[in-house]
Symmetry: D2
Subunit: 334 residues, 4 copies
Amino acid sequence: MLIILDKYISTENLNTVMARLEQLNVMIQVHEEKDKKVIVVLDGAEYLSLETLEILPGVERIINIKKPYRLVSREYKPADTVVKVNGIPFGGENFQIVAGPCAVENEEQVMIIAKAVKEAGAVLLRGGAYKPRTSPYSFQGLEEEGLKLLAKAREKTGLPVVTEVLDVRDLEVVAYYADMIQIGARNMQNFPLLKEVARLEKPVLLKRGLSATIEEWLLAAEYIMQGGNPRIILCERGIRTFETFTRNTLDLSAVPAIKTLSHLPIIVDPSHGCGKWFLVPPLAKAACAVGAHGLMVEVHHQPSCALSDGEQSLTPGKFHKLMQEINKIKQCLT
Amino acid sequence: MLIILDKYISTENLNTVMARLEQLNVMIQVHEEKDKKVIVVLDGAEYLSLETLEILPGVERIINIKKPYRLVSREYKPADTVVKVNGIPFGGENFQIVAGPCAVENEEQVMIIAKAVKEAGAVLLRGGAYKPRTSPYSFQGLEEEGLKLLAKAREKTGLPVVTEVLDVRDLEVVAYYADMIQIGARNMQNFPLLKEVARLEKPVLLKRGLSATIEEWLLAAEYIMQGGNPRIILCERGIRTFETFTRNTLDLSAVPAIKTLSHLPIIVDPSHGCGKWFLVPPLAKAACAVGAHGLMVEVHHQPSCALSDGEQSLTPGKFHKLMQEINKIKQCLT
Amino acid sequence: MLIILDKYISTENLNTVMARLEQLNVMIQVHEEKDKKVIVVLDGAEYLSLETLEILPGVERIINIKKPYRLVSREYKPADTVVKVNGIPFGGENFQIVAGPCAVENEEQVMIIAKAVKEAGAVLLRGGAYKPRTSPYSFQGLEEEGLKLLAKAREKTGLPVVTEVLDVRDLEVVAYYADMIQIGARNMQNFPLLKEVARLEKPVLLKRGLSATIEEWLLAAEYIMQGGNPRIILCERGIRTFETFTRNTLDLSAVPAIKTLSHLPIIVDPSHGCGKWFLVPPLAKAACAVGAHGLMVEVHHQPSCALSDGEQSLTPGKFHKLMQEINKIKQCLT
Amino acid sequence: MLIILDKYISTENLNTVMARLEQLNVMIQVHEEKDKKVIVVLDGAEYLSLETLEILPGVERIINIKKPYRLVSREYKPADTVVKVNGIPFGGENFQIVAGPCAVENEEQVMIIAKAVKEAGAVLLRGGAYKPRTSPYSFQGLEEEGLKLLAKAREKTGLPVVTEVLDVRDLEVVAYYADMIQIGARNMQNFPLLKEVARLEKPVLLKRGLSATIEEWLLAAEYIMQGGNPRIILCERGIRTFETFTRNTLDLSAVPAIKTLSHLPIIVDPSHGCGKWFLVPPLAKAACAVGAHGLMVEVHHQPSCALSDGEQSLTPGKFHKLMQEINKIKQCLT
């Protein structure tokens, strides 16, 4: 922690700062830069927030030179973490495909899509039973009925399922049916929910918030890991920017950034990332080339009739073609 | 709802679109613009999401010309809504001050601050008992103990209290102690929480999400109103932008925008809006001049020792001076 | 300048850093924080960009603790700068109104509007002769013909005029007719243009770029001041964000921020800030209350026939009413 | 063009709208949607901006359903445009590498780097002679001296050169030395400069503005094409967002978006896109996989001594390794 002072800070103001630091019982060293004073806080300031010192007269800036997260950092664990979802490994050298409908609509729909994505090479089935919808008038999901249909699809296809939970009160039932719990973008900073999934044995898919910085995202993961659950997979799904042609702006630089800062696996969701089906294949290939540990892709057999996100869903045929191209890229990358 | 087609759409593709619309059983009219075809959906499309039609070949764009929210709109209720919090009216011609510490830290702190803000003219006490913190290592709040201290402060000062709820499971206890429930920026789209506060008799303070558009914000309010609770006060608290000097960018244009689009009261939180105490007074005055129905200001008697947000808190002295200036502006505005 | 090193940096890598610093001939001190090494660069690093050192192995971060601008800073000149435009003072305790059409369209239009804004209390006439238009098919301005009409309006009304220059080659003719030169948002970082206006005797109105941080904006002003022209007035006109209801998001916090960081006058353009005429009056009042040194408002007698920005222009009647309200606020603020 | 009216618009207000449309001499049709009136403007509204009608009472929204650009659109020219730079084809099936230093610093530097990038497979040399720098105290470039060094490097290596122009007055000299003229991000909406390069025979590299939408970017290209120069190559280089870990957020979705909307070639600059050398290789591979027509990469033999952008430059060794990986991806993509 560094405290930058105005070089000409009055003795009285300097004493106030020093008194406060003594009170906090931290070791310090003071140095004079050309026209600043710099206090280097040597120790004891572990998780103290000294930001409030910024309010003291003569204090110009507080600079935290320590990363605010710990357990999820590369420094803490240099080796890649591999998270197994029903035996399927995510992270390290693995590249896995998660696919399925945005929302579970009915049995026929789930079965047709599950069968199709498995044939094309997906290893995990996605599907929403509880849907976070911007409008109260939009389809809100089949809830437990949807979970049962996902379980049925798993029986038929052998694909483990990942599905989103919105409400801590649904966590038990979702965990009962799902193989991996998804925390959606809107809940990335739903701290009670993070604390609850931290208590589970199940792996957690943590999507990046619409306007979350990489640091805030890793701190959300820190909540889960510090709470006892190290089985976390991150998912980049686009951030909110001024651009309106795409639904979000997919931030593929987040993939190598996360791989540098953290040991956790990271996959990419190009469907939400762009919001337009015809942009999904090129972005999926880019996500593979940028070094992601996998993809999560929305597939629907009748996109124009989908109850949600039809405009960003691939048909089984387009998805199958994409998987073949992805395989070619994976081969030449290794 | 308008559907824009490529003028040269093939008969086959046009038939697909028409078949889908017939299936949806909506009345339409088709017209030819210079080099587009325009389908005007006349009726029946109330809450249908026709967006998915965008995926059909030959369809260029779907344009929803109806506002997606209804109950919170001016069209639905032309007159200003006045929400009473323990008899204190928000909205209409009223301008009310909510003030207090960011977080409840201990009895002495709450009492000193509550007394000070009341003397300065605040009519409601704010204070966090459950704190949403970006880092799991930051102070998380005193929880129910904090609620009890707020209740005590209310006894002593007569100020009703508003406090934030993060978890649906805490709603009952929070509602037991609080006079108004706050939904924080990170929970603006926590839909289960919105649906629960919709069932309460208590007024709800709905803060704008960090990256929420005005439309998304009003749709969050629609969740609460459509769920049965019309006692909603909106609170602008800054949005996330590229600017780093301020913690957020306070969007004061949202105040007249909301007053045009909706009948709900809207107040402004300049403390979170800028994140720096010395910017709070000028922004508070601007919020008053722009037509807000009130302010929510963070006050702390020892900002440099605050357990959270000290750098954006006013001292009682500065707050008192600000209230006097605000009163002058209010007078000359009326 | 601070250089943060990994505490466990190898001797070899540390030597590389030290060698480079010696080569740059700067004085340093090295200190050990809990798990970082901190190099404080004491002197000589005035305007060196040491950022490139970040590329050396073992270097974690370079932190510049000195403000990158100098002449425009409060530290350099504590007292407010007052810029006179034809004798009319901007800055300090003054609050001045600049108004007029977005673009000069014809003589009748300029005369009607100039007369109206003067009667309402404007002290400067604005009007575009050279227009930066997003589309090549939009009206590009009357160019020198427009400048002549502005000069005619000045003769008739006595109002000095401010108008935008887009091209260094037009600077001489624009400077010949105008009393103040406007650098528009799109040209805030048009450095050749900044260097040229720096050579003029005329005052310069420097608008904030669409996505410029406050620091970048002040650095643009530094170009002008360092080039020899201290007569600079800053103008906040809204920044680009994700919000689409407003054309831009007016950042009123920039006003007190600039007044803290710099001695230069700052005015606000609510018309471009929001892009909707009905939001202009409340935002203009807010700009006055937040402490701006003045306003720049677009006025048109027939907004629905305006060749540009009609949707954000006030009619003379609405402008006159706004001026009366502004006067009331100004009175109670002093 | 569509004009959305409040269904309950008064006859008087409707007549005003109709009168204005008649005055504009456009053909229209009026239709009633459930609770809106919709006016479809059939013809004659080519490049009229009817936005100003939005100001008329009873008018809710003006919707332009026609793309605002024409010559650069796929509709206008369905086939890919191939732009030749000294015989080197950009666009279509080609994938070309542009590389070199951020800024030309001295003869030795340019020669070493030019030789290295050519050996590694670059076909074009980049290098800045006129530098747009945020601070007036940063290195501003060698100007004509730099152009001469680029020409020398071309002689020695046979690599054509691309370099940036900032000032219309330098265009002649830059065009004399350069094989392609670069319009930088900060000048994407420098309309006088766009109009001048439109008059040249030389190809133009048009970088996306820091906060430019895809539509604004294509409109900037429209300026050049409509002015007479169809030899345009677009370059995605990252947009400004709230994320601070990266210098900009590289928007790779812009590549397939542009390829859908326009016939022009588009390359990607991952160096400015992220601002950190270690993120450049993965993003370069992603740009290749997403379908870009080429790359522009910054290379420096001594990044820690570079006069600008050292922290985002690759060493010749790292660049050589990247080129080999890129070649593998290109092969498996075809």
